[in-house]
Assembly symmetry: C2
């Protein structure tokens, strides 16, 4: 299922080929998020043109609307959203923890009220896999449990126990799809190692690294990633969940991570923030009002080939939706192109130099506020 094609010597970066029922995904790769069965504003046709090979869909949303039974009846999520490449689905847990107004978690699973219609939904580890199977996913994620940042050791310890138990139960499902387990353990190295070792015994083909990118300092994130990747052997896929800043992707790849996902390229694209080879651009700024240059002079995407910053600025300035669409398109192109460059330099054997040089030119994390994570963290209390 997963084959390593090339290993870097100076770092732990590697190029791999991840075979799924719909598509062979080259890694390291980035997965745009199709939360509700659509990468916001972008057509599947365009995703293919950009070179996207795999997207993430959110089980929490899709199981409620349009609903698991309907999606199954209509032939599955691929047909529904006209996407014939790979799909990874999350378990629904993260959204249930962060979006639902009322939750109750115990060792059996979690019960939550829908943030859409207030209905009560019970999600067990088995149910989470069954739903993902019925959606027709290529890769399902185990239901896991995690704690906010910062958290107490004892809380994180309990979360690990539950996560491992739930991973075991995930394997009991009949006709199950390919499943990745999720390593938890907050920012405690020993817990991360323990969780990784115990999940490894269950022989999943891939492992998510979860409970990070929720406001902890970047150096702690990378420390945890490194700790986990020392336990998870090379022949397993490693997926750093929710990691989306290009700086972090560059570093995590050097620690042996293969898959990334994040809403950043589309969420920021819709508000006019562009990721470019020269750093962050807030296109709505009046400084671009008469700027004839493309958004990113080093980019060859549809947006950069055909439109000026002045035009994009105008679209945002007058509230035309095409602006968010064109900048989202560019941002996804930027990420996919970054992943291509990463693979190119691993292949060439100079990834270490590429990493240092490129990271130094990026400023995407700057100005990042702790408050961006507070709303998630305030909900992530151990029940």
């Amino acid at each position: 299922m997963f084959r390593i094609l090339k290993k870097d010597i100076k770092t732990k970066a590697r190029i791999g080929l991840l075979k799924t029922s719909h598509f062979e995904v080259t890694t390291p790769n980035f997965m745009p998020v199709a939360t509700q069965g659509s990468v916001k504003m972008i057509s599947p046709d365009e995703l293919k043109k950009i070179g996207v090979e795999i997207v993430v869909c959110n089980t929490y949303h899709l199981m409620q609307r349009p609903g698991t039974a309907l999606l199954k009846k209509l032939g599955g999520i691929h047909k529904f959203m006209d996407w014939d490449r790979a799909i990874l689905t999350d378990s629904g847990g993260f959204q249930a923890y962060s979006l639902s107004p009322l939750r109750n978690v115990d060792d059996d699973g979690l019960t939550f009220t829908s943030h859409i219609d207030g209905s009560k939904i019970h999600l067990t580890p088995e149910k989470a896999i069954e739903v993902q199977r019925d959606l027709g996913t290529d890769i399902a994620m185990c239901l896991d449990f995690f704690t906010p940042y910062p958290s107490e050791f004892i809380e994180a310890r309990i979360a690990v126990e539950r996560t491992v138990n739930w991973a075991k139960r995930s394997l009991m499902v009949k006709k199950k799809p390919k499943i990745f387990a999720i390593v938890q353990g907050a920012t405690f190295g020993e817990l991360r190692k323990d969780c990784a070792r115990r999940l490894l015994e269950l022989r999943f083909p891939g492992y998510g690294i979860g409970g990070l990118m929720i406001g902890e300092p970047a150096h702690l994130t990378m420390e945890m990633v490194n700790t986990v990747n020392e336990i998870i052997p090379e022949n397993k896929v490693r997926y750093l969940m929710g990691c989306g800043y290009p700086e972090d992707i560059l570093e995590a790849v050097s620690l042996g991570v293969d898959l990334f996902d994040c809403v950043l390229p589309t969420r920021n694209g819709r508000t006019g923030m562009a990721f470019t080879s020269e750093g962050k651009i807030i296109i709505k700024s009046s400084r671009y009002a008469d700027d004839d240059a493309p958004l990113d002079k080093n980019c060859n995407c549809y947006t950069c080939r055909n439109f000026s910053r002045a035009y994009l600025r105008h679209l945002f300035n007058v509230g035309e939706g095409l602006g968010g669409r064109l900048v989202s398109y560019h941002n996804i192109s930027f990420y996919i192109s970054l992943m291509k460059k990463i693979r190119y330099h691993i292949q060439k054997g100079n990834y270490d130099k590429f990493l240092l040089k490129t990271k130094a030119s990026f400023n995407f994390r700057s100005g990042l506020k702790k408050s961006e994570f507070d709303s998630v963290n305030s909900k992530l209390k151990l029940d």
Copy 2:
């Protein structure tokens, strides 16, 4: 500039070729509206794929944002919005009358406060043409003056006088682009004839029929169109401004109209109303929740080739912007395809039969409320 390729025998329909500086437009044709330099949600690349040959841009909006001077400096509206086919611009008058909170009109022109920033703008017939020239339009429209429906004969009479005087003054502009005059006269046949005759003496290459589609009964619209087209000779382009219901387009073509424009395909598309060969579809309705069929089984556009009604319904139901984009795409395709069929049947010599059969199957005007026009009409008072 305008060449008739084929004339229908039983009706006044005709196929023509309208040569502009950027593109040869086949007529009868429909012009999607790129109000602020963008056909809402749709890329120029897609417009070309659909087969759009000409779009309408709004001078009132563009002269304010991004501004005439900036657009000129950036190389004109075509380059700005990446559209290398034909563009027709309106004079800015209609929006000034209907959007501006404060207007004052006299024989010299109109002064209005911007609905955007409250600044005072003075628009004369000369200025309107100069602005359109500086935007780089292919076809400019004369600044005109019109009255609401219903209006008094004397008011409509004054509007005609002013419109004719302003048309004369439009011709004084240096380096002027191709200009179409606009025939006014409300719903008074004699005034329409008089206006048409006097404008004809000024030898414009094309004539807009204005001041209609503002709430008057459809039979009165068509009566006026017929009256005007009996005066405007065959070798002139005839453009029925703001006419967008497929039923009306079919009928107006039979009276010899060549060009149409309307925001309907995109405005309705964004709210989930689709124009289909089987009539109107409100895609958000729960009846489509599990409907596996394409939006329009007789349509071959990107939306209909790849997505089900169930998927489109889901996108609207959960508020995903891709829904509005895909339905707008279909709607524009529907209009362009309708125009192709119209030309095909004129060519074949059976347009009369096609008109009757097709019109009977359309229900797009049904449920149309007078209140839709009230906000425009309430502002259209003679100053």
